[in-house]
Each structure stands twice: as C-alpha cells, then as structure tokens.
C-alpha cells in the first residue's frame, strides 16, 4: 500500500492504472482549458501548442487504458482517483497563464507537470509493498522520464524569450 498526503490510495495494480490514467486525463482537461483561454485572447500560436500537448496527454491516457486490458480503468478512476487536497500531478497551474505567453512558457509549465508526475510515481516505487505495483510504477517512472526529455528537446525549438515578452503596446490601463 502506498499513500501520499492528499493523494489517492494505491492498494493494487488496478488502482495504480486508474490513477495513472486519471493523471493524463486531468492534464488533457487543463491543457484544453488553456487552449480555450488563448483562443479567446487571440494567441493562435499558443492555442496550437496547448492543443498539441492535450493530444499528447490523451494518447498517453489511451496507452494506459490499453495496458489495463479488459479492466474498466475509466470507471475505476472515477471512483478512486481523486486528488482531494493536492492537485493532480500533471495539471498545469492556471495562475501561471498570461495572454502574451509564448511556447517557451507553455513548455516550461508542461515540464513542471511532467516532473511532478515523475516524482509522484517515484514515491510509489519507493513506498509500494506489492511487487506488481512497484514494477508498474517503475515503468511509469521511466515513461515520465521520457516525457521530461521530450519536453527538453521541444524547448530547443523555442528559446527563452527576451525579458520584454509581456510588454503590450496597447496595455490594459486603469480608467482615468
């Protein structure tokens, strides 16, 4: 058994599959929200980045569903995979969004999410008693490490913007 404060309890292999699935789905929802925000605020480059990230997380979710075979991972996730107090590890912080943010910022947010997921599954490897749970958690750690590397590679395409990235020629100003 493994339990981290505020996180759902992992008692067996099915629990871990359900939680891993839910983590990806939570990330999909959050990226879609950010894409919608960017669409509303006319930042099309970011719309594409966030939609691509949502699609990638959705593919990861489907992979976990396939791994679960006949087991209904979606229904089980709905029952047990509630991050009651903490945030779901890969959920991007909505408070970090900005209407002029760049792909570099989006990928930084994504990187933090992948690193949190890596840390989450690592904690399960370290605390799980069931060898099957431990083995699957180790696989998930490897996958998250790959995702971290992937984001690092993507970041090579998008160098850090200058410090003036948030300067707006027509900024929102207080009414005078």
């Amino acid at each position: 058994m493994s339990k981290t404060a505020g996180n759902p309890k992992v008692s067996n292999l099915n629990d871990l599959l359900a939680i891993a699935y839910q983590i990806e789905i939570d990330a999909v929802d959050r990226y879609k929200m950010l894409a919608d925000q960017m669409e509303t605020h006319n930042n099309p480059e970011l719309v594409k980045v966030f939609r691509d990230l949502a699609r990638a997380e959705g593919i990861h979710g489907e992979e976990i569903r396939r791994l679960a075979g006949d087991f209904d991972v979606v229904a089980h996730a709905r029952q047990i995979a509630n991050f009651e107090r903490s945030e779901s590890p890969e959920e991007v912080d909505l408070g970090s969004a900005h209407y002029l943010m760049t792909p570099w910022h989006a990928l930084q947010l994504s990187l933090k999410g992948e690193e949190r997921a890596f840390a989450y599954f690592t904690s399960i490897v370290e605390t799980a008693k069931d060898p099957k749970v431990k083995a699957l958690a180790a696989e998930l750690v490897e996958e998250e490490a790959e995702h971290v590397n992937l984001v690092h590679r993507l970041l090579l395409r998008y160098p850090k913007p200058s410090d003036t990235w948030a300067d707006d020629l027509d900024p929102p100003v207080s009414q005078e």
């Binding site: 029952q79 009651e84 969004a97 929102p172 207080s174 005078e176």
Partner: protein, 278 residues
C-alpha cells in the same frame, strides 16, 4: 441542500457549460470555477437542482459558465434574488457568486441582512481587492496605500473586513480560501453547502491584470492553525487578529436557518395584483 442523486456519479464536466470564460488568462476566477464544479460533483447534486446566482463583475460571470440554473442579476442584488429563490424553492441548492465590489460595496447592505436572516444558501465572494471589470478602481477591500491613477497615493481609507462583519451579522459558517488551491477550495465549498443556514466563503482570487502584485498571495496563504470553532467569541478574536491569509473553515455556527413555510399565506396572486392596479 437539495437531494443527492445516488443513482449516478456526476463528473465535473457535467456542471460546466459550453461557453468559454472570457476572464484574463491567469485570473483566479478560472480556479474558482473549477472549485465550483468539483464541489458540485463531490456532492452528487443533479445540475438542475442547483441555482447559481450573481450580480455584476468579473466574478459574477460564473453562472454562464456552469450548466446549472443561473441568474446573472443586477449589481449588488444577488443576495436579495437568491434569498427570494431559496424561500420559495427550498428544494434547490442556492449558491451565490460575487466579488468585493459587487458584494461589499453596491451590495453591502444586502450582505449584512443576508447574514442576519440566515437563509440556507452559500455566498461565495471572489475577492481581488479591486474593481477589475471596470478597469481598476479601488474596492472596499483595497489597501489604503494602493496607488493608482484614480486614487493617487492610495485612498487612505480603512479596508472593509468581510469575515468580521459576516460573523457580527450572524453568518452561520465562515471560511476563507485561496483560488490557487482549487481542490482545497472545493472541499470547503462542499462543507459550506452542506452546513445549514447562511454560509459565507471568501476566496482570495488574484486579479492578474490590475493587481499583478497579488501573484504573491500564492506564497502568503497558509492553513488555519486551529480547527473551526463554534464559539463566535473565539472566532471573532481569531479573525480579527489573523493576517488575512489564514485559509480554511474558521467558524461553524448552529443557528436555525430562516425558512418561512411555503404557501403559509392564503393570499391569491390576483389579490396581490389588485394592490398594484393603477
């Protein structure tokens, strides 16, 4: 609170409408919307048994973004609308959304009497210490020294203390939350909705456009060091002396909610209409 549907499990998405919010990216109100839908899903309430009522302002857009019954009312009058709805339809779960301008200034008097009256509903105020929608005027909770073009050198006016006023006026449940912790906020909202009587939840929700300094709230908030008290005297001392960033349920009262018997009068509508004849 209305009846829980035990036949099906609701998801957050069941409470979200198809309308995309137009808040500024980074606005705390996005998190509050997540907290609303999460709390409703945890309570298992059918969307059609919830009414979200609001006034005017950024925060008051929230009914449009939920899939529940909603009423986007006039400025500062959300509590009056909500009280009327709740006493005539006690079967509904009524949640009222407001901001520090709408709720504490224009609707300030309604706030006092809603606390006093203690109708069973939940009042959520998204406090960003500024009028955001109308471009950054000082609100009742703006700090006296906050310097803007509209208030050079600050207003020098003492801010309103909503939690103390709610307690003194008779609110039966008082909590403070931070929008950046949406799951914790959802847990508090669940408790607020379940608690009988008038529940008041103040959510510190940063305005990233006109108060970028409020991004620092993330590092200033901290859990309340002690559990909620049922003693108003103790609650008053704690709330008066805290730093304004104490997060959690601070007071749980035990007053009986106000609920007149539905249909208690025998007056027909036609009789009432006679009084308004010209």
């Amino acid at each position: 609170m209305s009846t829980v549907d035990t036949q099906r499990a609701y998801k957050q998405a069941d409470y979200k409408s198809d309308i995309n919010p137009i808040w500024c990216p980074g606005c705390g109100d996005y998190h509050v919307l997540l907290s609303f839908t999460r709390a409703f899903a945890q309570l298992g309430l059918p969307p059609e048994q919830i009414a979200v009522i609001s006034g005017i302002g950024c925060s008051s857009r929230i009914p449009a973004y939920t899939n529940c019954y909603g009423f986007h009312g006039v400025h500062g009058r959300s509590l009056a609308l909500a009280a009327g709805l709740k006493v005539t339809r006690p079967d509904l779960t009524v949640v009222v959304a407001s901001g520090d301008g709408d709720g504490y200034s224009i609707g300030g008097n309604h706030f006092l009497h809603a606390c006093r009256r203690n109708v069973d509903m939940t009042y959520v105020v998204m406090d960003n210490h500024i009028y955001g929608m109308t471009k950054g005027q000082p609100s009742p909770t703006t700090e006296p020294e906050f310097d803007t073009a509209l208030s050079p050198g600050g207003t020098k006016v003492r801010p309103f203390h909503p939690l103390v006023i709610a307690l003194a006026s008779g609110a039966n449940f008082i909590a403070r939350c931070f929008s950046g912790a949406p799951n914790e906020t959802a847990a508090v909202l669940v408790e607020a909705i379940k608690h009988p009587g008038f529940s008041f939840v103040e959510i510190l929700s940063p305005c990233v456009t006109f108060r970028p300094d409020e991004k620092a709230w993330k590092d200033l908030v901290h859990p309340a060091p002690v559990a909620a008290t049922t003693d108003p005297g103790k609650a008053a001392r704690r709330i008066m002396s805290d730093d304004g960033f104490n997060i959690g349920i601070l007071f749980r009262g035990n007053r009986t909610p106000y609920q007149p018997a539905v249909g208690a009068t025998n007056i027909e509508l036609s009789e009432l209409e006679k009084d308004f004849e010209l």
